[in-house]
């Protein structure tokens, strides 16, 4: 801030917390009142009902899939990978924002993260759970998948192919889920203890008493807590980069034109952060209105997240541009054909829709007025959510449907069962997220207290 006066005119950044939150008590009151109350807003019931209905559809789709086999999906030769991997990558990508917010922004001491990190981490875990369903279900016989996926001394005396990126994926994603879950639950412990102490009936008291694992808030507890949370942040930080890099290897290690590209790892990571922030905002903007969290999730948060999306989107745009450039520069007939086919082939309209959603529309974020208007911001996020799904569709189907051998070319589209499974996981995600919102502290109370002037004196 010391160089600020040189640059005219300078306006101080908006405070992280809104003017309504001035004391420890008001913060604790506000956040615990969402959970420790018999009153539930009707909008919550509406969302959970939608989630449950979609989960019912998900169940039907899963049962029919397991009963009949993966033939119910739209897969064919040469498009042997379809919705399952598209949805897997889409969901995994969405999870990345949570890890970035909770780990990387913690290490960079970005204080504004505290109002959104808890719910973003929850989003991460639920998104990874949705993602994990697809690789398990695409095996067709998940009860046998134990030995296909995990290396253990099985009675066949064989191991998974360790040279395959698909097995790296198993490790990357399971590590990601474990570390994210631990990080999330660790951060929840002090808040569970707050809820335990504020609960008015025995059952709630006992539930939060068990979850808080004997937290008393002593100095030793806090010291260990801080150390553990720093260590987990350190563990999570490389995961932000590694998980989606490994996911991109699924494609990049193969020799299909459009997949075999060295830019895939960084471009996938940027895409993941892009998609993740769009999903955080998609959830936060309605939630903020529903529970009146305007003092916690302030215009500054929305503004910052808009900027992160803009940057990530530009990196993704650079990735698209580089794919095109290297395809042309390689002078390989196959790469050239792939580019032609991607832009003007049978899936060309999806490609232009993807560019519109991911590159053109989000350029509106350059304008402060658009970035700070929740309606336009929400709209742009929806464009990005769709665009990131289309991106994976273009990568997977656009590259496979016309491979090296014209005699095997074929078109691909998801069947009814593909769509039911995909939309069903969105229902599962909504259900899990709203159960979390209703039952657990959706904002880190103990962390947000440190943002108050009174809690900030030690710095």
């Amino acid at each position: 801030m010391s160089e600020a006066p040189k640059r005219q005119p300078y306006t101080a950044p908006a405070p992280v917390l809104g003017p309504g939150q001035t004391s420890y008590t008001s913060i604790t009151e506000k956040i615990s009142s969402i959970v420790l109350t018999p009153h539930t807003p009707w909008q919550w019931f509406a969302v959970v009902a939608v989630g449950l209905a979609l989960m019912g559809m998900l169940q039907v789709a899963i049962v029919w899939l397991l009963y009949t086999g993966t033939g119910v999906w739209g897969l064919n030769v040469p498009v042997g990978w379809g919705f399952a991997i598209i949805n897997f990558v889409w969901w995994i990508g969405i999870g990345h924002a949570g890890t970035l917010i909770s780990a990387v922004l913690l290490l960079f001491r970005q204080k504004w993260r505290t109002s959104i990190n808890r719910s973003a981490e929850g989003m991460t875990i639920f998104a990874v759970m949705c993602a994990g369903m697809f690789p398990i279900l695409h095996t067709g016989r998940p009860w046998l998948a134990a030995y296909w996926l995990f290396p253990y001394p099985n009675s066949m005396g064989i191991w998974p192919q360790f040279r395959s990126p698909l097995i790296w994926d198993v490790f990357a994603v399971s590590t990601y889920l474990t570390v994210s879950l631990l990080f999330w639950l660790l951060g929840l412990v002090p808040d569970f203890a707050t809820f335990r102490d504020r609960a008015r009936n025995v059952v709630t008291q006992r539930i939060f008493g068990m979850l808080s694992m004997g937290w008393r808030g002593s100095a030793i507890h806090w010291e260990r807590y801080e150390m553990a949370s720093l260590m987990l942040a350190g563990l999570s930080t490389p995961l932000v980069l590694s998980v989606h890099s490994v996911v991109s290897f699924d494609f990049a290690v193969s020799i299909i034109p459009g997949w075999h590209t060295t830019i895939f790892p960084p471009y996938f990571v940027a895409g993941a952060i892009y998609a993740g922030f769009a999903m955080v905002l998609t959830l936060m903007i309605p939630l903020r209105g529903l529970y009146g969290l305007h003092d916690f999730i302030t215009p500054r948060h929305l503004d910052n997240m808009g900027k992160v999306m803009l940057v990530a989107g530009l990196i993704v745009g650079y990735g698209y541009f580089m794919e095109q450039f290297i395809g042309w520069y390689s002078a390989s007939v196959y790469e050239n054909f792939m580019l032609q086919n991607r832009m003007f082939g049978p899936y060309g309209d999806s490609y232009w829709a993807l560019l519109t959603c991911n590159i053109f529309v989000p350029q509106l974020l350059w304008f402060k007025r658009i970035r700070n208007n929740i309606y336009t911001l929400f709209g742009i996020c929806m464009f990005i959510n769709v665009g990131m799904w289309l991106e994976r569709f273009i990568i997977v189907v656009g590259s496979l449907h016309r491979d090296y051998m014209p005699s095997s070319w074929d078109m691909y589209s998801g069947t009814m069962w593909d769509w039911m499974l995909y939309i069903g996981t969105i229902g599962l995600f909504l259900f899990l997220f709203f159960m979390f919102v209703r039952g657990w502290p959706l904002i880190a109370i103990h962390e947000i207290r440190t943002l108050l002037p009174v809690g900030n004196k030690k710095h």
């Binding site: 253990y152 001394p153 009675s155 066949m156 005396g157 008493g209």
Partner: protein, 218 residues
């Protein structure tokens, strides 16, 4: 305010950590061992058969060679289950009135084969061939155990894939001279490892290819 939990709950909390580890370990050991249990693999279990045929009596007692009944073992994938006529070469002359052998006589009379229950049954995606094993010096007893000592036929080995691979990865430990393949009394000599390596070389067993998927799963 009263405490939420009694202090004895501390013990439960600590114990639950161990219990979770135990639960995970237990599940893991079930996963490891389920296919290796005799109950699942059927090792040592005598199946119900139409006639209680005794390999011990016919091989050790009468001195029959394996190939007297399993005629196609050297030339075909399937070792061959003898037709009832093979039984009747002797049993039309001896034990002709034995009630135990009535199903055999009935099968011969009505020209309906005996319905034996298969003891060594591999999954249908495994394309096992007897002839190649026999001609490369893998003896009957190596896989089927001491059949000459079995009053009722039982599996001696699990036939799990890890068991197949234990030989396919290192056949030298089991291979024997070709002329001893049908010798039920053959036991590995003290220097089997050395002799085995020589035989692997002599019989042109290409060990590096023996674990290719397509060797057994086509």
């Amino acid at each position: 305010m009263a405490q939420v939990f009694h202090r004895s709950i501390n013990w439960v909390a600590k114990f639950s950590i161990i219990a979770i580890l135990g639960l995970v370990g237990g599940l893991f050991s079930v996963l490891l061992n389920i296919n290796r249990l005799d109950y699942v693999s059927g090792v040592g279990v005598a199946r119900d058969q139409p006639v209680p045929f005794s390999h011990k009596h016919h091989v050790t007692g009468m001195g029959l060679d394996c190939r007297y009944c399993h005629t196609s073992v050297e030339t075909s994938a399937f070792a061959g289950i003898p037709p009832v006529e093979t039984c009747m070469t002797c049993h039309s002359l001896i034990w002709t009135e034995a009630p135990l052998l009535e199903p055999v006589r009935a099968a011969f009379r009505d020209d309906v084969p005996l319905q034996w229950t298969r003891v060594h049954d591999l999954p249908d995606f495994v394309y096992f061939k007897h002839n190649i094993h026999v001609s490369k010096g893998i003896g009957c007893t190596t896989c089927h155990g001491a059949v000459d000592q079995m009053p009722l036929m039982k599996k001696a080995e699990t036939l799990n894939m890890e068991w197949c691979l234990s030989c396919h990865r290192n056949p030298a430990q089991f291979i024997r001279p070709r002329d001893r393949v049908f010798d039920v009394n053959w036991t590995p000599p003290a220097d089997q490892e050395l002799r085995g390596q020589q035989l692997v070389k002599d019989y042109n067993v290409r060990v590096s290819q023996l674990t290719d998927c397509s060797v057994c799963h086509l």
